[in-house]
Amino acid sequence: MSAPDTTPDTLTPVLTRRWSEERSWTLETYERTGGYRALRTALAAHPDQLITLVKDSGLRGRGGAGFPTGMKWSFMPQGAEGPGAKPKYLVVNADEGEPGTCKDIPTMMADPHSLIEGCIITSYAIRANFCAIYVRGEALHPIRRVRAAVAEAYAQGYLGKDVLGSGFDLDIVVHAGAGAYICGEETALLDSLEGRRGQPRLKPPFPATAGLYASPTVVNNVETIASVPFIVAGGSDWFRTMGSEKSPGPKIYSVSGHVERPGQYEAPMGTTLRTLLELAGGMKDGIPLKFWTPGGSSTPMFTAEHLDVPLDFEGAAGAGSMLGTTAVQVFNETVSVPWAVMKWTEFYKHESCGKCTPCREGTYWLVQILERMVHGEGTPEDVETMLDVCDNILGRSFCALGDGATSPITSAIKYFRQEFLDLIAEQPAVARPEQLADVERADGTELSGVSA
């Protein structure tokens, strides 16, 4: 990674460009670096123009599903009568919890005002006067940062009554979640925000019709909202200079695991793992790549054959996975696939909300099979049983949590079936909590039982 000519073009960072500034989270730094200028531009425009702008930019939701943001905004009923007469709300999903994902929390830590500016512009566009930022409860430090930034914004007249003399009013509440993965699901988040038990709601009605307090609501991810001021400032054509036709714009890739420099790498949509690995200094200790997730554990895993898959919505889907939250978790050859899958499944079992049968009971069952297997008590039928149980969960559960829980298992068996069978055949007498494979280093030296 030393030769300059092989260093990939990191682009001029957009979303993360302030992260390395001194005291980047302060209003002063934000304003000094061009912050809240987009807001002034936005407030001078008609809200519908902003919706059109974001539609034109092709911005797609950064929370995982990739729904076109401008289209979501345009679903909000407007007008003085009928459903449009109800109060409208913007809810920011900052309940970042997908395993491996850590893009929103650093955004809120390093550049909270970009989120707040995005909130103001979005609220103005959808004609909401109340915005709630639902932050994952465990993320105490970011909650404080965002709250402090909101207070600064109020003091500066960016929030509250008559924002910057525009006549537009907006209040932002930063709400701490209570620690449930399911509350990242937008309707469960809304229930939780209302003070109810966080479980997904029946759709329809969709949040655009009956969301928070049964009123029209837009729910967007932090990164999505933080992208908005840049689109307003740079225009949709500029935004489309990055990424692909259907997946334009910059994206924060959370690269973790067995790489030399794990961290957040902002790159245009469609960047490949090969490029990201180069940015991250390559595989740690030179141990070869075994498997990786393109967008968190809920997206089917990839292997070394997928190094050149463009990581955008179409590219990931075309290769049999999903872009998800672009949480790129990289695992080298020391890691046992059944063990990793067991750990993930334990997570889903713990986080299944319990509402529907397939997810609640299925994850409970799958964990026990995997744990038994890893503890040397697997049977040859287990692999087929797991696949069938996954088939009975996928597409049968109430929300996508159940679907996501099956991804690591089915994809692992797809690419590493033999490793499962070998583990079953091997029947290790002593349970090995971490089934580390013996591997050879790139330089030929033996490496055994090393935990990464």
Binding site: C353, T357, E361
Partner: protein, 824 residues
């Protein structure tokens, strides 16, 4: 207007207005827009397995058992869809488990998952044999499970109230119980706790499942997770004999099912009657039937022997003695008949006829509670309505607004309360309650409280009806909307002028009026003529033509019926106490329910001859000369008229040999007195009443003036408000401790300012006293008017009429407990 054109090729016409056309398992079907797919399947006879789905609850889509394949616009949806949440659409093609391998596998998969944590305890489970899980596991499940891991376990059972027990291992988390409690009853005492496989139903700490409707959750539980303390482990469904019946408790007339085994009713379930109780009943209706087996039941006739002891006698002897005594009394100062409010229509008719034919008097009254002459005038105007001509459950549900007067619906007619709650929740019905405080029922129906000092309701209503202020205009406008109804409870009789004020308001607004008495027999007894002013069919005693009709029908000599009305319950009691009546025939009347129980007891004591027709030993039988046992509903047939005027016939549940209904006992007693009633059977009595027909004239509404507004005259005084709670010391609630445990705790209620003035502290005991006695209960603050205290009328430690000798609207002394210690 669209013109239907016949399409070439004989194609079917377009679906009717408001309908869509879809195909299910190859069958084309029209369904109303918005119908849930699983219902459309049902109508076609295609049963899709389900757990969380219930037609009266909002869809949940939680169990995922009802998955089917759906094609929209020619494109198959990528995942199987829950047919309990999906609404029908035009052109939809649906394939259920019968035609889709995908749906079939999905259903089998969900069933296998549901069973992995379900205990295999069907052989000892109450639900075994009638269990939707068991049945659907057979129809839609695998023959064996692949699950060899460890099942999740919980300690069990967990009592969530004294009546309802929860087995969390059996629970499939369908949320029917929690949705019922939240949506239907408005009592969200139970909810989901924890998550994932540890998710479970539970209650908050120290907040048991104290709902009057909790038993419904047991009935709709699709597994054996909720069981009742009363029925748990008592019998197996397949050993039970089920008989459709009607509830005998309140005037709603709920359909129910009696399940009996070897001569004993083991349990009662809510029957399915969409017009009346839908599929619900209250816990009193469900659980209060142990009186059938009470050791206080009287099964043989009793007569008082020479030593003054009641001894068993043969029917022949008992009837002879009773007839002799009554004949002698008739020849002296006469006989009074107290029928009671728990009679079937047929029995009430027999009492009405017995009084006129055998006792030769109009001194007959069913009203075993405080009453008034104004009330009778008012009731005469509400007589004879049916669900079609008067107010019905459906009309209450459809009403834009409802005013309740002297009626706490949740406590007195729970099923009407549920209907109103449904209308409030689904349609935003406006409810006004003329009362004293925001009761639980008022809160749950979002009622606007029209607050009044007890006894001043009539004046308050008159003032509002004059619509001089916003509150008045709001009420009058709401009640002027077409379909608005005014519901009047029997408690209104305790307030002078209230019936007149209601009648005036109804005339002014056009709102329909319905009378919802607390007891099951009241409406029927009124129609059957068991009142001093009316003959059967609502014929006024004072009208010669009406009397003549009845005389002809009964084969009496013309002019033999007295032309002046008889005496009311209070007057009969007073006359008996004063020695102005020689005998009393008393049906199911508890003297403690009467306006002045002390006087009533004196009357029973003093009257020369007392005949009691009773189920159980009581204050009346204790004093009776002859006690004639009568059959409880379970051992007879008959019918009630519910508050709508709807006939609610029921058949025999248990073996009826050896027990006789009141109408038969009275018939035989009359024969002994040489008179014929022709009421040997309920059918005979009903037939005669039917043939008699109805009075065709109309009655004038009462125009009584409101009484003076009661005001505390001295320091330490307050005005008493009081009415009964659903689960209380009622005589039919005996021997059911699990039900009694779910009663609302008796409390004395007052507002904060009054409490402070009287020196009362919330949570501490206070005494409410008159010169007769005192009631001491814990204080709870509520939004009563100033200077008013509320007491439950007949709850443990609070028998208001018996202890205080006064009732609603009376002045009482109130002080912290201890201060009034020497009241008596």
């Amino acid at each position: 207007m669209t013109v239907e054109a016949t399409k070439p090729g004989g194609a079917r016409a377009e679906p009717p207005e408001g309908h869509v056309r879809l195909t299910i398992d190859g069958i084309e079907v029209d369904a109303p827009k918005g119908e849930i797919l699983i219902r459309t399947c049902e109508r076609l006879g295609i049963i899709v397995p389900r757990f969380c789905d219930h037609p009266l609850l909002d869809p949940a889509g939680a169990c995922r058992q009802c998955l089917v394949e759906v094609e929209m616009g020619g494109r198959p949806m990528p995942k199987p869809q829950a047919s309990c949440t999906m609404t029908v659409a035009d052109g939809m093609v649906v394939k259920t488990q019968h035609t889709s391998p995908v749906a079939d596998k999905a259903q089998q998969g969900v069933m296998e998952l549901l069973l992995i944590n379900h205990p295999l305890d069907c052989p000892i489970c109450d639900k075994g044999g009638e269990c939707p899980l068991q049945n659907q596991a057979m129809s839609s499940g695998r023959t064996d499970s692949r699950f060899v891991e460890t099942k999740r376990t919980f300690p069990k059972p967990l009592p969530i109230s004294s009546q309802v027990l929860l087995d969390r291992e059996r629970c499939v988390l369908c949320q029917r119980c929690t949705r019922f409690s939240e949506q239907i009853a408005g009592d969200p005492f139970i909810d989901l706790l924890e998550r994932g496989a540890n998710q479970q139903i539970g209650t908050a700490e120290d907040k048991p499942f104290q709902s009057y409707f909790s038993g419904n959750t047991i009935q709709i539980c699709p597994v054996g997770a909720l069981t009742s303390a009363a029925y748990r482990f008592r019998s197996r469904p397949f050993d039970l004999r089920s008989t459709p019946s009607v509830c005998e408790h309140c005037s709603s007339g709920c359909a129910q099912r009696n399940d009996s085994r070897r001569g004993t009713v083991m349990r009662r379930l809510a029957g399915n009657d969409p017009e009346v109780n839908e599929e619900w009943n209250c816990d009193k209706g469900r659980f209060a039937f142990r009186y059938l087996q009470s050791k206080e039941r009287i099964t043989r006739p009793l007569v008082r022997d020479a030593s003054g002891q009641l001894v068993e006698a043969s029917w022949t002897e008992a009837l002879r003695i009773a007839a002799q005594g009554l004949l002698a009394a008739r020849a002296q100062r006469g006989i009074g008949v107290l029928a009671g409010g728990r009679l079937t229509v047929e029995d009430a008719y027999a009492y009405a006829k017995f009084a006129r034919v055998a006792a030769g008097t109009h001194d007959v009254d069913f009203r075993a509670r405080p009453h008034s002459a104004e009330e009778l005038e008012f009731l005469a105007t509400t007589l004879g309505t049916t669900p079609e001509t008067g107010v019905s459950f459906a009309a209450v549900e459809a009403a834009p607004s409802v005013l309740t007067v002297g009626l706490d619906l949740e406590e007195e007619a729970g099923i009407v309360f549920l209907r109103i709650r449904k209308a409030v929740r689904k349609r935003g019905q406006k409810v006004f309650e003329l009362g004293q405080w925001t009761t639980a029922g008022a809160r749950k129906t979002k009622a606007t409280l029209v607050r009044s000092v007890p006894g001043a309701e009539a004046a308050v209503l008159r003032e509002l009806a004059a619509a001089t202020d916003d509150a008045g205009k709001q009420l009058v406008d709401a009640l002027s909307a077409p379909g608005a109804v005014i519901l009047v409870g029997d408690r209104a009789a305790e307030v002078p002028g209230l019936h007149s004020a209601v009648a005036a308001l109804a005339t002014r607004t056009g709102a329909k009026v319905a009378w919802i008495p607390r007891r099951a027999g009241d409406r029927g007894a009124l129609e059957a003529g068991a009142v001093p002013t009316l003959l059967p069919g609502g014929r006024p005693v004072g009208e010669a033509a009406a009397r003549a009709e009845v005389e002809r029908a009964w084969g009496l000599p013309a002019g033999s019926l007295p032309a002046t009305p008889g005496r009311s319950t209070d007057e009969i009691v007073a006359a008996a106490a004063a020695g102005e009546l020689s005998a009393l025939v008393v049906g199911g009347v508890d003297p403690h329910d009467l306006a002045d129980p002390a006087v009533a007891l004196v009357a029973l004591e003093k009257v020369g001859f007392l005949v009691s027709l009773e189920l159980h030993a009581s204050a009346v039988t204790e004093r009776a000369d002859v006690v004639l046992p009568v059959a409880p509903d379970a051992q007879r047939e008959g019918s009630y008229l519910n508050w709508e005027g709807r006939r609610r016939p029921f058949g025999v549940t248990l073996d009826a040999s050896g027990v006789l209904p009141d109408c038969r006992v009275l018939d035989t007693l009359a024969v002994e007195m040489d008179e014929d009633l022709f009421t040997q059977t309920p059918a005979a009595a009903a037939g005669e009443l039917e043939r008699l027909g109805r009075y065709t004239g109309s009655a004038a509404a009462p125009t009584a003036e409101p009484g003076p507004t009661p005001r505390p005259a001295q320091v330490g005084q307050a005005v008493l408000a009081t009415w009964r709670q659903l689960v209380d010391q009622g005589s039919l609630l005996v021997d059911e401790p699990a039900l009694a445990g779910t009663a609302r705790p008796p409390r004395v209620r007052t507002n904060a300012a009054t409490a402070e003035r009287l020196g009362l502290v919330e949570g501490e005991a206070a005494s409410v006293a008159t010169d007769r006695g005192a009631i001491t209960l814990q204080v709870e603050l509520a939004d009563l008017p100033d200077g008013v205290v509320w007491l439950p009328a007949n709850s443990p430690g609070s028998a208001v009429r018996s202890t205080l000798g006064v009732g609603h609207g009376a002045l009482v002394r109130v002080a912290p407990a201890g201060v009034l210690g020497g009241a008596r």
